[in-house]
Subunit: 331 residues, 2 copies
Amino acid sequence: MKPTISDVAKKAGVSIATVSRILNRLPGYTEETRKAVLNVIREIGYKPNAIARGLVKKHTYTMGVLLPNISSRLASALLKGIEDAAHRLGYSVIICNTDNDGRRTVEYLNVLAEKQVDGIIIASEWLKDAYGEALLAMKIPVVLVLTVSYRFQIPYIKVDDKQAAYQATKYLIEKGHKEIGMIGGSVQDIIAGLPRIEGYKQALADYNLTITDDRIAFGNFAYESGIRCMDELFQKVPEITAVFAASDEMALGALSFAFRKGIKVPDDLSIIGYDDTQDAEMTIPPLTTVHQPVYEMGKKSVEMLFSTKGAVESIIMPHYIVERDSVKKIN
Amino acid sequence: MKPTISDVAKKAGVSIATVSRILNRLPGYTEETRKAVLNVIREIGYKPNAIARGLVKKHTYTMGVLLPNISSRLASALLKGIEDAAHRLGYSVIICNTDNDGRRTVEYLNVLAEKQVDGIIIASEWLKDAYGEALLAMKIPVVLVLTVSYRFQIPYIKVDDKQAAYQATKYLIEKGHKEIGMIGGSVQDIIAGLPRIEGYKQALADYNLTITDDRIAFGNFAYESGIRCMDELFQKVPEITAVFAASDEMALGALSFAFRKGIKVPDDLSIIGYDDTQDAEMTIPPLTTVHQPVYEMGKKSVEMLFSTKGAVESIIMPHYIVERDSVKKIN
DNA sequence: CTGAAAGCGCTTACAG
DNA sequence: CTGAAAGCGCTTACAG
């Protein structure tokens, strides 16, 4: 059996209370007994049981993070930020891959509640009512990353999607493009879908450029859909010279489609992405894209989660355009 | 305060023992009292405390996974496999990003021990003696993925690296290539470095092709190093017509280098990668590469971890070549 | 079928 | 400075 606190107490000839005090650096023992106890601990290889400790302290130093897909590039970067900050603050992180599945999400929320986690981060997910209620019932801190909720007032951290999309589009316009298409998410997706489309439309409107439904193709942020949308766009509006893709992955799809069709990027077609995931700098040509500070958002989200000052404020992070080689200036 | 088992017992007019039996589906109560108790539970929103439960059962239904870099493509896929299997078996997974840092790794091992995890998966890491000792002391199941240990007899699951590298090289040879270079890992890395280089050399030897030190450039499996190595290779051995890269990421680097120099892939240069990460199908041109079943390895590793049959055997997973468009058949 | 009680491994007043 | 004891929220023989 693993040694317990009473094993060390017995062997050191003191009470478990004293051992506990020494372990927790509380006052109440001589340097002499401290040394003796520490020796015994080393000798028998004692390690405190965090489960027992958690039971009495009602604090587990464990947190959960829910994401729709752990293996997306975006999630990877976010997770690293979360893990780094959590580790620095002494927390362990339990990952929950929801697959965007409601039942699975509720299961996870339950498990996290039962395991008495100290906080939960929810990334990218649209917060359904059931989740919000469950979260409320848990009475622990929660923060939203890369998403917001209107129904539940939970602190969030994200970029201003509409503004970022506006600027991506404006960037293309300033490079001389007049026929600009967009590969967007679903308009039903009021986090990453609609706002980016609105930003795109707003920019076109402000510069008096043509806006038509044809110029927008709807994907699901994934690679394959980028290919399909680019195809669609080209068939419907062959005159476009530039495309704004609402995710880097879709931009990669557009890039691939162009390659297969012999369309040169950026000579024949300019493409700007969104996210600035690791992929963006590895593409051919390297992708110009809107940078979201995802790693930092991950870090900040856990700092917010365990921030000690009362009501936590939400944060809108700055975004900026990273110029690489997928957009060409035309006449 | 959150309701506890005694709150429901009190309210239902039974003992906590009965509530516990009902919760755990043990025999010993009438259908009537079961219904009544379940009602109270729903009414007051009681959720069992897994920490308390874990303390007495000495089973936390939590496991840890250590990886050098959670945000690599390989880790992403692996993690998803691990998470899926763990979730299906009712386990939560704590992620530990070691950054290949010894001190941090030991810290994590300590935390996992204190948190009484039921098992640990170690991915890609070279198992230092200190880790092995710590693991042994914990007396819990451990499995190694994408790595092995010779010093410690811990079950592992991986591909046969030498064999896979041999076959990648043979594939190039069978496509008519005679001047074949390699972008490898360090020879000090006896897991993913040396064996793949040996496989490459062995294949060349078996087919009586030229082997020189010049034909091997040493990277660190990352994108940037792929660029650098390809550059190096081209300067030293301009006659090579094909390259075997020991990771897809380095293959992407090679691809980028070729693109910048105006070298056409696969017309002027053929490239075969290793891993078959998600990137491989998104490159331009799509990358021919050795497929490692990483997601499945993730799943299998947790199944091994919690397998009930005695001594666990190690597994060598099958690999195969995925033919895409980065290798050309020549004369 | 049901409950009282001990125990899991700790922390924390309280008393000395 | 130090220890006995209660308690955290459960499970599990044991007795009835």
